[in-house]
């Protein structure tokens, strides 16, 4: 029943990376989420990443139908879901085949042997059974007849059909892994009690199977309980585990409450941005107006209308949708209305790699509009700080009367991590430019002297009736004015307004070294990978490598150039073919910007970064 092909010394680790894989219908996302939530509550730092097929119901057992969930837990700071696996839980041959590459040699695989039948092996294109042909000799394979054991555990539970029984085998696997890592089962049992409130037989069955897996692992003592990962040292406070897209939505909820404005979302579903819409529509209790439009253009159009009418207006999308929104975004820009456009980036061009991550929409965000059309561009860098940057995007839009593009990506949007909950009291004020009552000579394009933000006159306010539009406007009245000098003046004012945002954003900081031989530069969602790689070279003794990660892209922080001067070499790392690096080249003369790019729809791996850094400081 259980064979251990390779005995290894138990390791004591600060962190482990586990991946649960199986068929789309095997419940791997749920299994992974339960494990990571339990670990977070235990006090570990965590980072997770789900990986599902783009087909919704791929044929059972097929290679492309494999669904996976990876979780990295640690007693130390964990900033990525991890590259190489310590444990792979494979519920079928296809899962094993497509994920084995990531497992560290000598490490553990748990398989459900019942799933390794002729049919499934064929579907996974195995000529021989990998459990028998010695191809796994370099790993520690724990073979468990999970399906049979699940059936056995449930033989006395009433009201379950065969499908329901086999479906709960993921809880057997989860039970085993809980025991291995010394996790308590209570969180998951509570979850069953809530989720299946009206179906007590499902509470009973799932709990039974979870316990069966747990005690199975314990009783047979064949699995050493070696990996005791103690709680991580994290700042004290109240935490919850949050997904990037949820954090983005919540950042807007907070900004609306802070600013005292009503929140409007106009959106059209697109992976991987749709979860923001899913989250926002839940919050009618806060008066959130979420409008699913007929396309991305109508999505942004409705948001522009709402902004004109005085709401905090948001539109959310991914790359192809941003392309459609371009013209309307230009309109919002020339009308100088506050608007946040969220682009959760995915692999492009065109439909590209819809479920994979990439940072290739930066140039589109910066320049993807006709005419001179600068907008603020900022990027979140972790699942949890999507909250802060969504909040900040709203604040900048309202205080500077301009559209803001917030870039996130599939990796941080779908990833989850502990979030130290920020209460409303801790968040900064948000001002706005609304004119509450008319006064003599009020004009829509009179500006705040510092920010250059224009007056915001809202329909319904007596005496502020005015017309705005896409035609070039007079610098005071906002009436149409296509005079040559006026156009040049207005173009410069709009550019200057965005430039001045520099005065309101934090300076860029370095980590690990403030000057030296090499500055590693990143932006957006690669923070976790880059940070952990620089940290590791630093621990290895390379004290001369610094790290600067950009969240503010247009405008760039004021001290950017001064920072670059303190390093001999600058390496810009991006998940694209070189976009931020070109923005830096355009802005800063006299530097040689080296670049390290990956365009595989995947995050950076630790080793590839380490190799590159070491090569440059040799």
């Amino acid at each position: 029943m259980i064979t251990e092909k390779l005995k290894l010394q138990p390791e004591v680790l600060e962190a482990v990376v586990i991946r649960f894989v199986g068929d789309s219908g095997d419940g791997m996302q749920l299994t992974g989420t339960q494990f990571s939530d339990t670990s977070a509550m235990f006090g570990n730092d965590i980072a997770t990443f789900p990986n599902y097929p783009s087909e919704i119901r791929a044929p059972q057992g097929s290679l492309y139908g494999v669904s996976g969930f990876q979780v990295h837990i640690g007693s130390v700071e964990v900033s990525t879901p991890g590259d190489n696996l310590d444990l792979l839980v494979a519920m079928n041959p296809a899962g094993l085949k497509t994920n084995l590459y990531a497992l560290k040699p000598g490490h553990t695989i748990i398989v459900d042997t019942d799933a390794f039948n002729k049919k499934n092996l064929e579907k996974a294109q195995y000529d021989t059974n990998p459990l028998e042909d010695h191809s796994l000799d370099n790993y520690r394979v724990i073979q468990v007849d999970m399906t049979s054991l699940t059936k056995e555990a449930l033989k006395n539970v009433e009201g379950l059909d065969n499908k329901a029984i086999t479906r709960s085998k993921n809880m057997f696997a989860l039970g085993m892994v809980y025991w291995m890592y010394g996790r308590a089962k209570e969180h998951t049992i509570d979850f069953f009690n809530k989720k299946f409130k009206t179906k007590p037989h499902l509470i009973e069955s799932n709990t039974k199977v979870l316990n069966a897996g747990y005690y199975f692992a314990e009783t047979l003592e064949l699995i050493p309980n070696a990996y005791t990962i103690s709680p991580a040292k994290m700042p004290s406070g109240t935490y919850r585990v949050i997904m990037g897209n949820t954090a983005t939505a919540w950042g807007f909820l907070a900004a609306a409450e802070k600013s005292g404005l009503e929140l409007f979302l106009g959106s059209y579903p697109i992976t991987p941005a749709t979860d923001i819409l899913h989250e926002m529509v839940k919050h009618k209790h806060f008066g959130v107006k979420a409008f699913q439009a007929e396309d991305e253009i109508a999505g942004i159009a409705s948001a522009i209308g709402a902004a004109f009418a005085g709401d905090l207006a948001i539109t959310t999308t991914s790359g192809p949708g941003l392309a459609l929104k371009g013209e309307a975004l230009g309109l919002a820009m020339i009308m100088e209305l506050p608007l946040v456009v969220v682009n959760v980036q995915r692999g492009g061009p065109s439909t590209g790699l819809p479920t994979k991550t990439e940072q290739s929409d930066l140039m589109q965000a910066m320049y993807g509009r006709n005419g001179e059309s600068p907008v603020i561009v900022i990027a979140a860098s972790t699942p949890a700080n999507c909250f802060n940057f969504a909040f900040q995007a709203a604040k900048l839009a309202l205080e500077h009367m301009t559209p803001v593009i917030l870039l996130t990506d599939g990796y941080i949007a779908n990833g989850s991590a502990p979030w130290k909950i920020q209460s409303m009291e801790e968040l900064p004020e948000i001002k706005n430019n609304i004119t509450k009552t008319a006064y003599e000579n009020w004009q829509p394009y009179t500006r705040n002297e510092d920010t250059l933000a224009r007056n915001w006159g809202i329909p319904g306010t007596p005496g502020l009736e005015h017309r705005i539009g896409g035609l070039e406007k007079d610098s005071v009245t906002g009436n149409v004015n296509q005079a040559p000098e006026n156009h040049e003046k207005m173009t410069k004012i709009r550019a200057e307004k965005v430039k001045r945002v520099q005065n309101y954003i934090p300076e860029i900081k370095t980590e690990f070294a403030d000057s030296g031989d090499l500055l590693v530069v990143g932006w957006g969602g690669t923070y976790g990978s880059l940070h952990s790689a620089v940290k590791q070279v630093n621990l290895e003794g390379y004290k001369n490598i610094g790290f600067a990660h950009f969240n503010y892209i247009n405008p760039l922080p004021k001290n950017t150039e001064a920072l670059f001067k303190r390093f001999k070499k600058i390496l810009v790392c991006e998940l694209n073919n070189g976009q931020f690096v070109n923005i830096l080249r355009m802005n800063f003369n006299g530097f040689e910007f080296l670049q390290f790019n990956k365009i595989q729809g995947l995050p950076f791996g630790n080793n590839e970064l380490l190799d590159e850094f070491k090569k440059l400081v040799k």
Partner: protein, 337 residues
């Protein structure tokens, strides 16, 4: 519901300080003045009126109104207007659009806004041509029409806006000539009163690129014989001598003469604009002789805002969340010391 205004406006209150720049003789002037005259009748405050347009000659409209307004981008006014209305349901929101703006580039938004039934008003300036870009055929240009982009005659069959709108479940549809300011004003007032999306197609003459395209329907001397001006609850009678009428013959509308072949007024169909089933309205909008004008359909239905509002109230009443903190600190939270 807009509050009733105490001060009585006149049309002058709705004139903006901008010089009107349409070609002399263009019907757009008639529509502008009809609107300025209709607004005082609506009993709505000036600051609660918003005009939104796309791009085209007709879309310059908002600049000439001394209300709130937005001249947006080509075809997208319905989306913008929807956002305005959802953000503030108290406003009276008007979409001013052309045949190209609404049915070519904006076709998708046009059908969806009608389907949703938000309480908006859409005035469609149908001149069967692209005016602003100097005379290309539009989605309402007729087959054979010679334009700058169809020098040998247009080969693309047109949309009938009413047919398209009713197909998209429009609850209110009216059609009116561009040369009858009083009738236009009256229909605008009715559209304003109607709760839901109302669409008014104005047969608008473009004197430069498609002059006279409606002459044989709208000209003073033919109009009574060629049009049937429909009024809810009234028999479908038309003609200079009020002796022509419509009856249903099998599945078709047929023009009959009262007093001939034993036809009396009692045989003539009575117009029911409020009927839910649009079948008769569809037949009316498709009629080529006589051309149906007036309010063809005015079916009262629940608006999107009403549905949204009811849902929001219900969710609010059942929710334990009033502040975002309640949400943030709810569910699975844990302490780190």
């Amino acid at each position: 519901m807009e509050a009733i205004v105490e001060k009585k406006y006149t049309y002058k209150d709705f004139e903006s300080d901008q010089e009107v720049r349409w070609c002399p003789g263009c019907d757009d002037y008639v529509i502008l003045r009809s609107m300025q005259k209709a607004l005082p009748e609506m009993g709505v405050k000036k600051e609660e009126v918003v005009f939104v347009s796309g791009i085209g000659c007709s879309s310059r409209f908002p600049y000439y109104m001394n209300t709130y307004g937005m001249h947006s981008i080509h075809g997208r006014a319905p989306g913008i207007a929807s956002g305005i209305k959802l953000a503030n349901p108290k406003l009276s929101v008007w979409v001013m659009t052309g045949d190209g703006d609404a049915m070519a580039i904006g076709g998708n938004h046009f059908i969806h806004v009608l389907r949703r039934n938000i309480d908006l008003n859409i005035v469609l300036f149908n001149n069967e041509i692209y005016g602003l870009t100097k005379g290309q055929f539009s989605p309402t240009s007729v087959v054979g029409q010679k334009t700058k982009s169809s020098p040998y005659g247009n080969t693309q069959p047109p949309f009938n806006p009413g047919e398209l709108a009713l197909g998209a479940n429009a609850r209110f549809f009216a059609r009116i000539g561009g040369n009858v300011p009083k009738d236009i004003s009256q229909i605008l007032v009715e559209a304003h009163k109607f709760k839901g999306t109302s669409l008014i197609e104005v047969l608008q003459n473009c004197v430069i690129f498609n002059d006279g395209c409606y002459n044989n329907i709208t000209n003073k001397d033919v109009k009574e014989d060629k049009q049937i001006y429909l009024e809810h609850g009234k028999p479908m009678i038309f003609g200079k001598n009020r002796d022509k009428g419509l009856i249903l013959n099998k599945l078709k509308l047929e023009v009959v003469t009262i007093g001939e072949n034993g036809i009396t007024e009692a045989d003539i169909l009575v117009h029911n604009a409020k009927e839910k089933d649009p079948t008769m309205h569809q037949m009316l909008v498709r009629l080529e002789y006589p051309v149906a004008t007036g309010i063809i359909r005015s079916f009262d239905d629940v608006t999107l805002e009403e549905r949204e509002d009811a849902l929001t109230k219900q969710v609010k009443a059942n929710s334990k969340f009033t502040k975002t903190n309640d949400l943030f600190f709810s569910g699975e939270i844990y302490m780190v010391n």
